[in-house]
Symmetry: C2
Subunit: 597 residues, 2 copies
């Protein structure tokens, strides 16, 4: 059975050597989170993830969730008990607002925690993950009354939450939704309609479930301009906080999916359910995006998590499995064969994953730090840049980390050979679970379109130019370092290609929007490769600095540098292919009429 070991050493390197979070100790959140405290938190979290959640991962895959005739849902054996432990330990409160019982830790810390949870048990992690999305939506858009009524129990984890967007005929195109909300004259609404693909939609973890539901108020405009966001609790909540009567929302079905069997993906039927408007009438789309953006970073992290955990198991297998001999002479002469880790093509797959995981994690952390600065920095310029970066990087993280996660999970399965195809080994689950991350919270094609259509040109390209400047400054400041030279050169190459692609888009995307659409996927991948090259440059510099400052005897830093050099040699060349593809424009992509397919 697969195992999981939290990458605590990697977290320490990122938080201390690369991001140096203690320099923000004057800011809210960070002031309560000096590095040593954060490390203690993550160590505790690691124990829970490794010891409690990871052993339940395969259990969840095998048992799945069961719906009974009354619409109630039983989660896999052990899931409910693990959730109780999680609540008892106070984990749901980690990064929540102290005004509602939260611990107020930086999002950066929650990010590391979320990665560990998703690596250990992605399907389980979606229950609290969705709850946090609901928390964020209410926290940002709800009235004080709604916040007081719903947030404290979401923060403790006594209640969970969900996001209800999709309908059978309205997926990406949420404007086509049919769920109706009828005002009752007393400030409440009655919500009727069907939502599908609702993760954690019904379960046996908690006494109440707070559904966040988008619907159209009777008479509101068609399309996305008439969407409002509602809170629809499974049980109504009395003024004293006690639970009232059962609301008109029932799980009609659990979907049979390719993976994440441990999560209940529900069809939810709303029938005259009592709902409370969250935020402003007809401004539900913006509120929805609050949930979506938090969720998109989380989904990117899920992609990384499956890459990480499948990589760890592939490494263990590659060291253990004896098969064939090294091309350069026996490495295990006393054994019947060498461990397969001696074979270069096995190495290639492991190094691809390692070089990806470490830089992808850095990218997510680096971005999440801006997420914290956006809320806590007193400097308006910093907040502006943070806002720009969050907007720009979110679709890249969502898409690039999930495509990469699936690819690496597939390669990790490949390392196992035929045994990887047998469910007993658990490697298939990583692939099947990872697969959803490319689809939900906005399919990756939508992320690419968001990047080129909305984020790239926003404020005349301010965000991307800021990113280019940052890279130029780094390259300029470090061009004299012989040890950093390959990283600086690689970074210059990547950035020049990304800039070339961005310029091509600015020149050609406006004159023919299909050029932007046709280029979007490769532009996003080019952006991802460039961002990860930058992360490798930052990490190489941090490793060299740490080595010089007394860390020279720690092999961690040399491993880091060698892994970075692998990235430059073996991943960076993909940038050129992406650039060439995107610059070929829409014509070849759109040449056929629909009937020619």
């Amino acid at each position: 059975m697969p195992t999981y070991k939290a990458p605590l050493r990697e977290y320490r390197f990122l938080l201390k050597d690369v991001l140096d979070i203690d320099r923000f100790s004057n800011l809210p959140g960070f002031s309560d989170a000096p590095l040593d405290v954060v490390e203690q938190i993550l160590e505790e979290g690691a124990k829970f993830c490794e010891g409690v959640l990871a052993p339940l991962n395969k259990v969840g895959d095998e048992h799945g969730c069961k719906r009974r005739d009354d619409g109630s849902v039983t989660t896999p054996p052990g899931f409910k008990e693990a959730y109780k432990q999680f609540v008892d330990a106070g984990w749901p409160a980690l990064s929540c607002d102290p005004a509602y019982g939260g611990q107020g830790m930086p999002h950066l810390v929650a990010l590391a925690w979320n990665e560990m949870v998703a690596s250990a048990n992605m399907a389980w992690g979606m229950y609290p993950g969705l709850s946090h999305g609901a928390y964020e939506a209410i926290h940002q858009h709800g009235s004080d009354e709604l916040k007081k009524r719903y947030l404290p129990k979401l923060v403790t984890g006594e209640w969970t939450g969900t996001m209800n967007l999709t309908e059978p005929h309205a997926g990406t195109d949420v404007g086509m939704l049919r769920t109706k909300a009828i005002p009752q004259g007393d400030g409440t609404y009655r919500v009727t309609g069907q939502k599908i693909f609702i993760s954690a939609g019904e379960h046996d973890f908690a006494e109440n479930i707070i559904h966040l539901v988008i619907a159209r108020i009777e008479g509101a405009p068609a399309g996305t301009k008439g969407i409002s966001l509602f809170i629809v609790p499974k049980f109504l909540v009395n003024d004293d906080g006690s639970l009232g009567k059962r609301n008109g929302v029932v799980c009609g079905k659990i979907e049979e999916k390719m993976g994440i069997h441990g999560n209940s993906t529900c069809v939810l039927n709303y029938d005259d359910a009592v709902g409370y408007l969250c935020g402003v009438e007809n401004k539900g789309l913006a509120a929805m995006f609050t949930m979506m953006n938090v969720a998109r970073l989380g989904v990117g992290l899920q992609g990384l998590s499956q890459s990480e955990v499948s990589y760890q198991n592939a490494v263990a297998y590659a060291k253990d499995r004896l098969q064939g001999r090294s091309l350069t002479g026996k490495k295990n002469p006393d054994g019947p064969a060498d461990p397969i880790v001696v074979h270069p093509d096995i190495r290639r797959m492991l190094m691809d994953a390692k070089a990806f995981n470490e830089a992808a994690r850095a990218f997510a952390f680096w971005t999440a730090l801006y997420g914290d600065l956006l809320h806590s920095s007193p400097d308006e310029k910093v907040r502006e840049k943070a806002d720009d970066y969050m907007a720009l990087m979110t679709p890249v993280i969502k898409s690039f980390l999930t495509d990469g996660g699936y690819k690496n999970a597939t390669n990790a399965q490949q390392v196992y050979g035929g045994h990887g195809y047998i469910e007993e080994q658990g490697m298939s689950q990583f692939v099947r679970d990872a697969r959803i991350t490319m689809i939900y919270e906005g399919a990756n094609g939508i992320q690419a379109l968001d990047l080129v259509g909305r984020k790239l040109g926003a404020n005349s390209g301010r965000a991307v130019f800021s990113f280019f400047n940052e890279i130029d400054e780094f390259a300029h400041a470090n061009e004299d370092s012989a040890e950093l030279k390959p990283f600086v050169e690689g970074l210059k190459t990547a950035k020049a290609q990304l800039q070339d692609g961005a310029m091509w888009l600015m020149q050609n995307g406006m004159s023919n929007f299909d050029n932007a659409g046709a280029a979007s996927h490769d532009f996003l991948d080019l952006f991802g490769v460039t961002a990860l090259t930058y992360m490798w440059a930052l990490m190489a510099k941090a490793a060299l600095t740490a080595k010089a400052n007394g860390g020279g005897s720690d092999p961690f830093y040399d491993t880091k540098l060698a892994t970075g050099r692998y990235f430059l040699a073996r991943v960076l060349p993909e940038a050129g292919a992406h650039l060439a593809k995107l610059k070929s424009g829409a014509e070849p992509v759109m040449a056929l009429a629909a009937e020619q397919f």
Copy 2:
């Protein structure tokens, strides 16, 4: 539920316009297979695949195979009946030797038939697929007596066959096998051991199963030099051809796999089972490769098949699913939204698959034609070239077509969005089924090593230089055609990069074998891109010729040319990335000690 439509128009184009098979009508096999006869056969086959096999594909996935306590196995509902229809229609005999009841059709025809079967129902197709592998092994290596005893009923399909190579501790490294064969002094052997991952190992289709088993004769050398091939029938066969007593081979378990649930993947326990030596003592590895090479082309075709069928369904969904509006103005103004086929990123995924499928099919057919010429040409030079090409192209077809098949099946699933992740839709099955093709019959990493380590340098590189010359001649002969110019230019680019890679390997692979191993994957992919570029050049020329010869009004040819141009714009750029990666050599790949992972 997914459907399948056999690409008969594509077959016609390849057999007539590209390969012009009627020019071989003077050769054995081809003389009985003029184009119109072949087309009739394929039309009949298409009806069976579309109407009988395809509707059973999902049934097989859902039901799987059930083993009873006595070791007998029940296949999914309808599978057995479909097999009876298949046998009654004489399909197993299609390309078999007329001396044993076969129809003697060219392998090229069998290839098209096999693609249709695998597209319609890959798990089902493996039963006759494995039988044909057993047929080939006995036909090539068995004594006349063995051939007379076993081939006729394999040819009719009354019996099926299997290949037994893998053991728990001997996968890729077959030399580590432990299965023993003890000579009985009467020419027979007793075989004892355990084989795993035996596809079609036990079932209810046929009255007998002929297992081809590799084992070590007592006292034979260790490693691959002591492997012999045995025929071990499930029921012994009496001299009069009637069935005798049950032999000592029993299905001990059916594996739970990620996909191909309709095929029984068995653990087979051999306990003092009577076996008959097939071929020469201790030369079992060569005989095994007879089966493997046939099987590897078949597996490459399975990769293509899943790409094709998933593509067909994604196209249908993309035309039907209304979601969002075209970036360049409404295309379905009277509907609530446009069909998603208007979106460039949906197009990208469909075009990637279409451009791959058509060229991959051409590559398989073009190679299979050499397989026929190898056996039927009276010209020694032609046979030598055919032998060279078969050896050189087989690992490329196996690996490149299966990696591509998985990628395209994944993209086809992506076109469905969230619905693609729901098992009900059937798209997940294509991905899960396609996944095994990258693993079995030699994992794709082994194919790459076979290509660079064995095939590339064989006879001082004669095969690959012959391929380069052929491309040069094509480019030279067609450089004056304005319409072909982009294809000729693309081909020159690809070929120059492949040659560069081959030269790098010849210079660096011998001095450090790890350079060859580290480069192998990207070299194979570079080879695949180049081969498909060549196929597109051949197809473009054939399409232009057909247009000029009265086919101008058939939109098929313009579609073909546009699809080829897409390949040049959007796939060919990958060649440069592969070249850059492979030329970075072993150092970055092998830099870490095992404990640094």
